[in-house]
Symmetry: C2
Subunit: 203 residues, 2 copies
Amino acid sequence: MHKPAITQTPIDTTLSNRWSGRAYDAAKGVTHAQVITLLEAARWAPSCFGDQPWRFVVWNKGSDATTWQQAFDCLVPGNQAWVKDAPLLLLICADTLFGHNQQANRWAQYDTGAAAENLCLQASSMGLMAHQMGGFDANKARSEFKIPEQYTLMAMVAVGYPADIATLEGETLARETAERVRKPLSELFFEATWGKSVKGLNE
Amino acid sequence: MHKPAITQTPIDTTLSNRWSGRAYDAAKGVTHAQVITLLEAARWAPSCFGDQPWRFVVWNKGSDATTWQQAFDCLVPGNQAWVKDAPLLLLICADTLFGHNQQANRWAQYDTGAAAENLCLQASSMGLMAHQMGGFDANKARSEFKIPEQYTLMAMVAVGYPADIATLEGETLARETAERVRKPLSELFFEATWGKSVKGLNE
């Protein structure tokens, strides 16, 4: 489904086309080559001192349904309800310590968010859809997958092909076709000092 | 300067073309319309509960050189050395509390990193170059620009047109033309469980 962001000025289509839908096509898998491409995109995000603090764990239902299920079982029920048809799951972690000196990296989560966004943008660019989730049991995932304490578990991501809109109905259809919304520019962005709103072109 | 990421499989060019150079063209400014486009791109990043925890302050040397200088003065000397020719500066902050319930938002920095990455990608897509910096005096910036305690100061960003490579020499030229590097896929990304490296296509 094509559901671009509604912007005052045109933005790059890789950015405007990305969105977090929930209706996946259970019949279409994701290949290992596609997984590599998604990870390559994440790999080239910028980071403080070039530390690349992001670490991802990937589960592909097509190649290993058992571990995919283990990952799926870490999601909260509200997410499981729609993630069930997504063939690829990822867990996004942030390394809390810099590699070069083992000191605290205060940009670890910030930089990891950029890498995850790159992955989502790449997915969208390939005709896939990626949806990040904070709703998962981080303690359970840490324990199941033996993730060291040094890494903070930030998000899980569902990836797959979007379902054909013609196959959807009721609330699922309404949710997938609802207009995308954001706060106005003037609430988020300031000019020269805090609280002085940037004036948009249409304001 | 065109300096795309070297990837095993082709990735979206909006992602591969973004890079953090340091040589800006002091003669070329950034218009307000371009600023709006950069902010629009940031605005459409995804966030937990759709909270959009990012807040940016923007300084455009072309329209207000005095406040641009105030922002510039918050950078560490090592960054000032090359940021001096960049016409646009931004400060990226993360709202530590969710808007809907004023509880701690553990994804504030992570989501803010995604919005900042969108801005950098949009810049690159417009022929501009954006370079994020952790090297600035956050206490000074908070005090100068009256940023409430609720917001964490994450990064400053320099934006402008890249300088013509033919005008560069010595270390500046070497730095701008050096090969871009990243850790191998196998160090950053795991399959099914922690520490089991994803196999790349070429490995």
